[in-house]
Symmetry: C2
Subunit: 330 residues, 2 copies
DNA sequence: ATGAAAGCGCTAACAC
DNA sequence: GTGTTAGCGCTTTCAT
């Protein structure tokens, strides 16, 4: 069904020259028609061109366009080394959807190993018109190089605003703060904080703990940090000595740790809050901290779009705030 | 630090012409040197060119290369609408890593809504040299169009081999089979199969159940399918009437459902097996079915590489098999 | 209202 | 051993 379409003699892909020939006009005219420069081409010609393009199954060569225009329509979303779970999945798909809605093609780059040259290569090859990446990948030199290469908008993901590039502020510390705030508001003053020892969680854990600790210090509460693997036995063992301080609540790194902690607690009654608002949390009635990121994407994409189009050049940081989804456990 | 590099007068990006001028040679020579056509250029010239390129911070324009060569170095990995959890995350990162190792740039495309035009647009814009995508996105016409556009290798993800395109056979039915096989081998004959009602799991659930059912039928065992949400209460309720049949084992859609089922069982003792070999499974000593996909990637990438290079043209399907990771629960 | 032509940056066939 | 040159397919002045 695609093979019986008329094809140019050379057997290659249909180009605008083929369409031009078929419509009896010049390539320039084809370009004008197909790019919607309406006040330049007569109705009759437009019809002929559209028709020929349709008949030949013409699809413009985006690489050629990109070379000519100096930029693509592709947006690269480089993921920080976040452990890939439902929360991150939601973040990504919401972002991708919003970009696609605006007519861009959003592609995700997973930095498998921490080699920044891989990322640099990806940028060079894709020449994305806009780019979202963790700050580690965006030192000033790279941002400059990107701009020279046709990238019109760059957004760094960082825990605090950077000054050489617009920043999407995702501070894991605020997750810890939100959790502690929720607990302290409910009268808890001695709070166990369960953080992971698993290396893939180390970074996130450190930040969340920092936030929790800072909040406790600032509000006259006490945080009892626990560094353990996600295992009820290990948690129980580490918890035992702390119970003598009579903690009344527990904040866990994520919902999985929260579940393990609940198991570890056994008879002991503590208020428990987790992180991610995952299915498990909802199922078990576990209060949980969540980044409401999806709702922020329309704002983010709108900003990038305006920057790309040169309409505005707002470099102010976009801050994403976590919020607590309360359930029965607190 | 990037701004004090010498730049061509026009203030734009360094091109091969700039390097040529700086090295006192032609652009052709620059191209030859940088593309490693060693038996053509004298040692002295090579040094001069490398030197100039380095000094100017020259990075070849991949878009121009791609236009000229008719192909890019980018590989697109379009994800089937699998729920993004640890198992899928491992699958993706293993694949990406292997491609990067081979010098390709692997980008992931998340089909947010099921609109195939979004995917088509992505292909047109990226012009990937190879492509892995679910079969829904690869009807014969599209495969043909891709080949015309410079995509040298196409791999469809499908539950069974397709004949218009090489296939990565990922049959969720075999997951059900593997689980049942494990249980039947251990003497179980009446097995509860817990499958989700959540829409995002519907497809996978249907296939896994089909496989489990088929295996049971073929081996004189009985499968008692249960369609429930991931909730201990719901599972317990649905389970109650079935317990009169004296089942001895339970196979759950995934590890989360397995955990919920264990909770639902309470005092009732059944052998339980889940799916995904997730952290939870390992933690709780839950036997689990896992696609050993990561190990398959080197084979997959090698095949695509050979096809891209035109070395071989093996179209035979690549079959990925699940296996059971046994723990204490069975 | 339309066409001719230049050129984005690169590579490779063909000179010398 | 090195340079000249012709495009890849597109867009966009500048002419007409």
């Amino acid at each position: 069904m695609s093979s019986d379409r008329p094809r140019p003699l050379n057997g290659q892909r249909v180009t605008s020259a083929d369409v031009a020939a078929a419509a009896g006009v010049s390539r320039a005219t084809v370009s004008y028609v197909l790019n919607g420069v309406h006040d330049r081409i007569s109705e009759a010609t437009r019809i002929r061109v559209y028709d020929a393009a349709e008949r030949l199954g013409y699809v413009p060569n985006a690489v050629a366009s990109a070379l000519r225009a100096g930029r693509t329509e592709i947006i690269l979303l480089a993921m920080p080394s976040w452990p890939l779970g439902p929360a991150v999945a939601e973040f990504v798909t919401a972002g991708v959807t919003e970009f696609e809605r605006r007519g861009y093609t959003a592609l995700v780059h997973f930095q498998a190993g921490g080699d920044s040259r891989v990322f640099a290569r990806a940028c060079d090859r894709v020449r994305p018109v806009a780019l979202i990446a963790p700050e580690e990948d965006l030192p000033p030199a790279r941002v400059a190089a990107l701009r020279e290469n046709g990238t019109r908008a760059v957004l760094a993901i960082a825990p605090r605003p950077l000054d050489h590039v617009a920043t999407l502020v995702v501070d894991q510390g605020t997750v810890g703060e939100a959790a502690m705030d929720h607990l302290v508001e409910r009268g808890h003053e001695r709070i166990v904080v369960v953080m992971p020892t698993e290396p893939e969680f180390a970074l996130l854990g450190k930040e969340r703990l920092r936030g929790a600790q800072a909040y406790a210090d600032a509000h006259g509460a006490t945080a009892y940090p626990l560094h353990v693997p996600c295992d009820p036995g290990a948690i129980a063992a580490a918890l035992a000595p702390i119970l003598s301080h009579q903690p009344t609540a527990l904040y866990a790194f994520n919902d999985e740790f929260a579940v393990a902690a609940i198991e570890a607690l056994g008879e002991v009654q503590l208020a428990v809050i987790g992180t991610d608002d995952s299915m498990v949390a909802r199922r078990l009635g576990l209060s949980s901290v969540s980044f409401g990121a999806p709702g922020n994407w329309s704002r983010i994409v709108a900003r990038l779009h305006d920057t790309i189009e040169g309409v505005s050049d707002d470099l102010s940081p976009i801050v994403v705030h976590p919020h607590v989804v309360p359930h029965g456990s607190t």
